[in-house]
Symmetry: C2
Subunit: 198 residues, 2 copies
């Protein structure tokens, strides 16, 4: 079995590879605008499905599983995307400081025969961050490629996240345990053992 990962994110590639199967990264181009009436909890899976549809299914070989995913950060009713600049990153972290928010990752798995999609959600609680800590993080780590302007695996996640409810890897961009379970249950005909390639 081999994963075809339609994502440019090195984090996602690293996470998927950690499952123990070969990963080939490809790129797909999709319009990431979503209908304004779409509930925030459904945005990530909607985009993951759109990415999967943008990949020509006839290019999938036997034993290949296409993986697409999208992660959105929702605070109250607001979807936080990637910060456009330093000021927006600082503003987002001030918003998250001392509060809880929800991270949704939508995943679509597709083989030649079938397609399965799901959404996994994790609640993330930030302590009250000092102005100094926010500025230190933004200027040292430059989180401009991260929805919500933070990485849970980076310094701000270590010092600033008191607790989570849900899957940690989901916040990083891929709910690995749910993905593995889905693979084993729904793609059992092509899912080999990870040990065979270790």
């Amino acid at each position: 079995m081999q994963f075809i990962l339609a994502s440019q994110s090195p984090r996602r590639r690293q996470l998927l590879a950690a499952l123990g199967y070969p990963v080939k990264a490809v790129s797909v181009n999709v319009d990431e605008h979503v209908p304004p009436t779409l509930p925030t909890a459904e945005v990530a899976e909607h985009l993951a499905l759109r990415k999967a549809k943008a990949f020509p299914v006839e290019q999938l070989k036997e034993g290949e599983v296409l993986v697409t995913a999208d992660t959105v950060v929702v605070h109250g009713d607001t979807v936080l995307g990637k910060p456009a600049d330093r000021a927006e990153a600082i503003r987002m972290l001030h918003l998250l400081s001392g509060t809880a928010h929800t991270v949704y990752t939508g995943v679509c798995l597709r083989s030649r025969e079938q397609e399965v999609s799901f959404t996994e959600q994790t609640t993330v609680h930030f302590v009250t961050l000092s102005d100094e800590d926010i500025l230190h993080y933004v200027d040292t780590y430059r989180p401009y490629d991260k929805a919500g302007a933070y990485g849970i695996q980076e310094w701000i996640g270590m010092i600033g996240i008191s607790h989570i409810e849900g899957c940690y890897y989901n916040v990083m961009g891929l709910p690995l345990s749910r993905l593995y379970l889905t693979l084993r249950n729904k793609f059992s005909s092509i899912c080999t053992s990870p040990r065979s390639i270790s």
Copy 2:
């Protein structure tokens, strides 16, 4: 400010260093037997305090903070230590499979002037693990240095832990956000900014 970490664990050293201060590792020898009447939730902090007392306080210099810690895995009423051999590691993972358990990390911070200790707890939920996955993990990762026979940051944690309630880094061995907060609040006279050494 500098940390003096009384621990031989490379994971703990790596986590502590990620906060952004210099870390010097030292070793202390303590008897790790605890009174059988001690509640399981108090074992970790009890051992962290014992390790702190084993380090001669007069050796601490101005600006140095001694960090000691201990992590215990509790399933039901049973404290799971490090597995003695392959059979015990397999037995522990079968016990954790499909259930929830609690990880307690006790931490003691000590300067020349004061000592503060606390316990942080995280609930960890494992999916039902297959025999194949358990054997693959134990034989590939050899988790003999890990309480409960698993590392949340290793393959088994990625594929097998569906969700947690609490601090992820606490399960790895140090509750970083609580530690940083305690440092900022209780050791403010010696706690410099992490940015100054980055």
